[in-house]
């Protein structure tokens, strides 16, 4: 028998009540190996106004390029204490910030390695279903060969690559623009 997937509905303005208990702005507690990074940014609407009621969910591999999930059968190390999942709401100024490690590369659609990346689900009041995007890392030569980045028009790829934030070591900036000149690239996974 075949069923149809349940229809999405918006998280609405009050999702904090239900989702807050799982908020986590540090994906990589002490003892987890890898290059430490802090990623910060803001979420802007079509008028450039910060969105105060949005929430990001992060999904990523560990520093060895291994996902903590049964479907990842690669012969790579798992890191106890690293789930790869984070739930990060924005504050009243539309700003978010979380600490993690730069993931190792994972296999891509063509059998070649993908450049290190984080997956992001974006939820907010006004979004009838989530949006999906990715964060890539600056100054990584693997970005140029990444099969997914190469599906994106060249002039929009920079919306997916975090930038170094000033002089702060290990701090990256990545902003989300829902609309406008710098509209972030979102991906279609079929729904």
């Amino acid at each position: 028998m075949s069923l149809q997937a349940t229809t999405w509905q918006t998280v609405g303005p009050y999702f904090k009540i239900g989702l807050h208990w799982l908020d986590n702005d540090n994906l990589a507690p002490e003892g987890v190996s890898g290059e430490r990074v802090t990623i910060q940014g803001r979420v802007f609407d079509g008028d450039g106004i910060p969105i105060p009621d949005a929430c990001l969910e992060i999904w990523q591999a560990n520093a060895h390029g291994k996902y903590a999930h049964p479907e990842d059968t690669q012969n790579k190390l798992l890191e106890p204490g690293f789930t790869g999942y984070g739930r990060v709401p924005v504050d009243r100024e539309g700003a978010f910030r979380f600490a993690t490690i730069k993931p190792g590369p994972v296999p891509g659609p063509d059998g070649k390695e993908q450049a290190p990346h984080l997956l992001v689900s974006l939820f907010m009041r006004g979004l009838l279903r989530r949006l999906v995007t990715r964060i890539y890392f600056p100054d990584d030569s693997r970005n140029a060969r990444d099969a997914i980045l190469n599906l994106v028009a060249p002039d929009r790829r920079d919306t997916l690559v975090a930038k170094r934030a000033g002089s702060q070591q290990g701090t990256l900036e990545w902003n989300i623009h829902m609309q406008g000149e710098h509209e972030t690239v979102f991906f279609d996974l079929g729904a």
Binding site: Q4, A5, T6, Q9, G12, E57, W59, E71
Partner: protein, 234 residues
């Protein structure tokens, strides 16, 4: 090289668009450029997993989270989580949140002049059992006004959030109640074109889960995306 099996496409019209102008908040927040279609990789077919002990057994009874009982009509909301191939999804995290019986959320942004209930937070979690079943005890949420348009009222609803087996199977939705006269007027309910898909968001009154002398039961099954058949070796 084995290609990775993805997840099934939605039947046309059964999922909302990003832009639905009658829901005014979508106008400045929906992306204007087409989304970029990408093939499935290991990144999208994996996803967060949760150990059952992340959720306390008490977290599924929203009427026992404080010293007293919340006001309102006690109800039992239960159902199964399946995929589109009718397989029950065990060990899936289900999160819910809702307004209290007066139609007020325990949230600083909610300024509706209806009383808060010191005995009701409006937040619950459960992990599905081996048959994909979940069960919450709560109170029936109230309808409440919002400012989307003149005299706009949200029908009574409970928000649901589910993960499923992969990043690709994430679902956030809302459950409605049968017979609610506000449903036909609600732009959020109506954002999905397919009428049958919309109507599946309305729970069903359920004698079987109704507990005599205690609480009415409502049944709400949730269907997450099913896996495509595994592709042949290339």
């Amino acid at each position: 090289m084995k290609r990775i099996a993805g997840y099934r496409e939605p039947y046309p019209g059964t999922q909302p668009p990003h832009l639905h102008p009658p829901y005014v908040s979508s106008i400045k927040r929906a992306p204007t450029k087409p989304q970029v279609r990408i093939p499935y990789t290991l990144s999208e077919v994996t996803g967060p997993t949760f150990k059952p002990d992340i959720v306390s057994p008490k977290a599924s009874d929203l009427t026992r989270q404080h010293s007293g009982e919340p006001l309102g009509e006690r109800i039992i909301v239960s159902g199964r989580v399946l995929d589109e191939n009718s397989r029950p999804l065990a060990n899936t995290l289900v999160e819910i949140w809702q307004a209290n019986a007066a139609g007020r959320y325990l949230h600083e942004v909610d300024q509706h002049k209806a009383p808060l209930d010191p005995n009701f937070t409006g937040c619950g979690q459960a992990i599905t059992d081996s048959e994909g079943r979940y069960r919450f005890v709560t109170i029936r949420p109230g309808e409440y006004p919002w400012r989307n348009h003149y005299n706009a009222w949200r029908p009574a609803h409970i928000h649901f959030s589910l993960f499923g087996p992969a990043f690709a199977t994430r679902l956030v939705t809302q459950m409605y109640f049968p017979g609610d006269p506000l449903i036909p007027f609600d732009p959020i309910f109506n954002c999905t074109a397919d009428e049958k898909a919309r109507n599946r968001l309305i729970s069903v009154f359920d004698w079987e889960s109704t507990v005599p002398e205690h609480a009415l039961g409502y049944r709400f099954d949730l269907i997450l995306r099913g896996r495509e058949a595994t592709p042949m070796e290339e």
